[in-house]
C-alpha cells in the first residue's frame, strides 16, 4: 500500500457511500436534500458502522429519492410506509442499523401513524425527516408542517391549519433521541446523525431544508442562499429546551439543537426480556435451527475438542 492510497480524501470516502453511477440526481439547484445526504454519509463514515450492515429506507417524494442514491442496501418504499418497512428490516435482522430518510409529507402526513407507533415502541431506528414545509414532488402543496399563513398550491390564499411541531410530537410519543437542525448546520447534523447511529432506540432528527423551486418561490422567500441566510440569523441553539417551545412560524425563529437524549430499553430489548423470562436465558430470537445445531454437533463429533496434552 502506498501513502496515497492509504490516505483517501474525505470526498472519495463520501463518494464510495453514494451510487455515483446514478448521478446526476433529480434534485433542483439550491435544494437542501443533497446537503442532508452528504452529512448523513459523513456521519456513517465517522460512526465506523460497516457500510454493508446499514440499510436506508425512504418513502415517496423528492426526499424519498435518497434511498436510491446512497450506496447501502436500500428500499424505496411506498408513500408514508418507510417506517414500517424499516421496522420489518430491523426485526428481521437486529444486527442491521436501519435508517429512514424521508420528507415531512411522507413521514408526518400519510405516514404519521407509523411515526407515532415506532416512537412509542422505541423501535431501534434512526429517522431523519427532511422538512421543507411542502410536498415538493407533487408541486408544492400544503403539508402538516407548513407554517401558518404560508401559501402553497392548495392553500393559495394562505395556510389556515395549525402545523405540527415535530420534536414535540416525537417527544410525546416517546422517542429516545430528538434533535433538530437546519441544512445550514452541516457539522451539527453530522454530529447528531453520528450520535443517533450509535444510540439504541428511536432517534429522530428533523432537518429544516429549503425547497427552492416551490416553497421559497411561492412564498417569495428568495433562493437557496436567502434560505441559508434566514437560517443563519434566525436559528438559535437551545440544547435540552422543552420541545413545546420548538414551534416554527413563517420566517420565525427556529430552535435547533439536541432536545432529548434519554436511553431506555428498545422494542427488541423488551421482547427479549419477556421471552427470556418465559423460555430461559438461552432464549435467542431466530436462534439456530435444529439442522444447524445438528450439523454443529456432527462437526464437534468429527473433531472432538480435546483438552490437556497428548
Amino acid at each position: 500500500m502506498n501513502a496515497q492510497s492509504a490516505e483517501f480524501s474525505s470526498e472519495d470516502r463520501i463518494g464510495a457511500m453514494l451510487r455515483t453511477e446514478r448521478m446526476p440526481h433529480i434534485w433542483c439547484p439550491g435544494c437542501g436534500i443533497g446537503s442532508v445526504v452528504t452529512c448523513f454519509v459523513d456521519a456513517v463514515l465517522r460512526s465506523g458502522i460497516d457500510q454493508d450492515k446499514l440499510v436506508v429506507v425512504s418513502g415517496i417524494g423528492c426526499s424519498g429519492r435518497v434511498a436510491g442514491y446512497v450506496n447501502f442496501d436500500s428500499i424505496h418504499a411506498t408513500h408514508g410506509r418507510a417506517i414500517p418497512v424499516a421496522t420489518g428490516l430491523k426485526l428481521a435482522n437486529p444486527e442491521l442499523t436501519v435508517v429512514v430518510i424521508s420528507g415531512d409529507g411522507d413521514l408526518m402526513s400519510i405516514g404519521g401513524n407509523h411515526f407515532v407507533h415506532a416512537a412509542r415502541r422505541n423501535m431501534d431506528l434512526v429517522v431523519i425527516c427532511i422538512n421543507n414545509f411542502t410536498y415538493g414532488m407533487t408541486g408544492g402543496q400544503v403539508t402538516p408542517t407548513t407554517p401558518g399563513s404560508a401559501t402553497a398550491s392548495t392553500t393559495p390564499y394562505g395556510n389556515y391549519e395549525y402545523p405540527l411541531t415535530l420534536p414535540f410530537l416525537a417527544d410525546a410519543c416517546g422517542a429516545s433521541y430528538i434533535a433538530r437542525w437546519t441544512s445550514l448546520h452541516a457539522r451539527n447534523i453530522t454530529q447528531s446523525v453520528e450520535e443517533a447511529l450509535t444510540r439504541r432506540g428511536f432517534s429522530f432528527i428533523e432537518v429544516i431544508t429549503p425547497c427552492t423551486t416551490l416553497y421559497l418561490r411561492r412564498n417569495r422567500l428568495g433562493d437557496g442562499v436567502d434560505a441559508l441566510q434566514y437560517y443563519q440569523s434566525n436559528s438559535e441553539i437551545l440544547h435540552g429546551i422543552d420541545t413545546r417551545e420548538t414551534a416554527i412560524e413563517l420566517q420565525g425563529k427556529i430552535a435547533v439543537g439536541k432536545f432529548v437524549d434519554r436511553p431506555k430499553p428498545t422494542y427488541l430489548d423488551a421482547v427479549t426480556r419477556c421471552n427470556a423470562k418465559l423460555i430461559g436465558d438461552d432464549y435467542q430470537l431466530y436462534g439456530k435451527t435444529e439442522p444447524e445445531k445438528k450439523a454443529e454437533e456432527a462437526k464437534k463429533a468429527e473433531h472432538p475438542v480435546t483438552s490437556g496434552h497428548p
Binding site: 436510491g68 436500500s74 428500499i75 417506517i83 414500517p84 430491523k90 428481521a92 401513524n113 407515532v116
Partner: protein
Amino acid sequence: MNIVHADPRGVDSGAHFMDGDHAIAEGALAAGCRFFAGYPITPSTETAERFAERAPEVGAMFIQMEDEIASIAALIGAAWGGQKAMTVTSGPGFSLMMENIGLAAMTETPIVLANVQRGGPSTGLPTLTAQQDMFQARFGSHGDYNIIALCPDSPQECFDLTVEAFNLAEAYRTPVFIMTDETVGHMHEKVVIPPADQIKVVERNLFTGPKEDFRPYRFDCQGGHPMTRAGDGYRFHVTGLTHDERGYPLMTPAQNQVVVTHLIEKINGNAEHIIRLEEDQVEGAEVVVISYGITSRIAVRAVAEARKKEIKVGSLRLITVWPFCEQRIRELAGQVRAIVVAEINYGQMVREVERCAAGRCQVVSVNHCGGAVHDPEVITKAIEEACR
C-alpha cells in the same frame, strides 16, 4: 430450487383438533416462517394469536402493528431482511393492504398473506363467511401484475396449503395468498401435522456470486431469480418505480412493458407447475361442478345427490384459484354440456369460467352473497336443470 426438510423446531407434529385459523399459523411455522406482523380483525385474528403464543418457543418474531398497511409493509422489510414472513387479515384489512401488495409484486418480494374472507363490502358481515374477495386478490392493487392464490377447504388444507404458499412464494418470488373463509377458519377438525422430515420446504434462493455480478432482478418471465438480504454486502436497491435489473429506476414505456410482462408471465407461464386441481368423475360427465374453499364441501353433497338421480356429474375443485386453470376449462368446455360454478359472492370466478368456455358449453352460476354457505339442494337443482 433448494428443497430441504422443515426445521423441526417449528413443526408441532401429531394429530390435533384445531380450527383453520390455527392451522394456518402452524403451517407457517412448519414452512420456516419466523416473522409475523398483523392487525386484529375478525375472523382472522386466531392465526395471529396462535403465532404470538408460539413465537417465543420457536424463536420467531411476532409484532402487532398499528394497522394493516404497516403489517404488510413490515413483511416487505422482513423479507428483504432475510426472513420468511406472513400476515393474516380479512375484508377491510385486505383492502388496506392493496397498495403494498403492489409493491411486493413489483419488487418480487416473497410474502404470504391469508385472507379469512368475511362478507362485504365495507364492514359488511364481520363474523360471517364469504368468498367475495376473489377478484380483489388477483386485481386489487393498481396496475398490471400477478399473484398466486390458494383456497383451502378444511383446517387440514389450511396447514398443507400454507406450507405450499411459502414454497410457491420462494419459488416464484411473489406474494402468495391463502384465500380461506370464515367457515373454514373457524371450523374445528382433525389436522395431522407430519414429522418435520416429511415436510418439504423451499429455501430462499440467495445470491452468492461476486458483488459485481449481483442483479436483484432478471426479467426472463421465469420465477426464482436469486435475491439477497440486507447485510450480505450486495447493496441492493429495490423500488416500486419501474426499474432495470439492478433495481434502479428506469422509467420508460419500453421498460414498463418488460417488467410487467415478466411479472405476469413468470406465473402464467408456469401455470402448469403451479396449478393444483382436484377432479372427481370428470371423464364422461355431462355436467361439471366447479367450486373452491368451503363451497367445495357443500358441493360434494350436492354432487352425490345428483348422482343418485343417475346424472353424470363430475366435480372440479380449484385448490389453486390464481393463476386460473384456463387450459383445463377450455378442454372441459368442449366435452361437457354444462359447467355449474358455485361460490359465495355475486359471481366472480364464474366470469373466468365463462371467458375460457367461450360459449362452447353452458355456464351456470349458483351464487349468493356473503353470510352463509350454500344449501346443497340449490346446487343439486342447478345440476339437474343444466342437463335437462
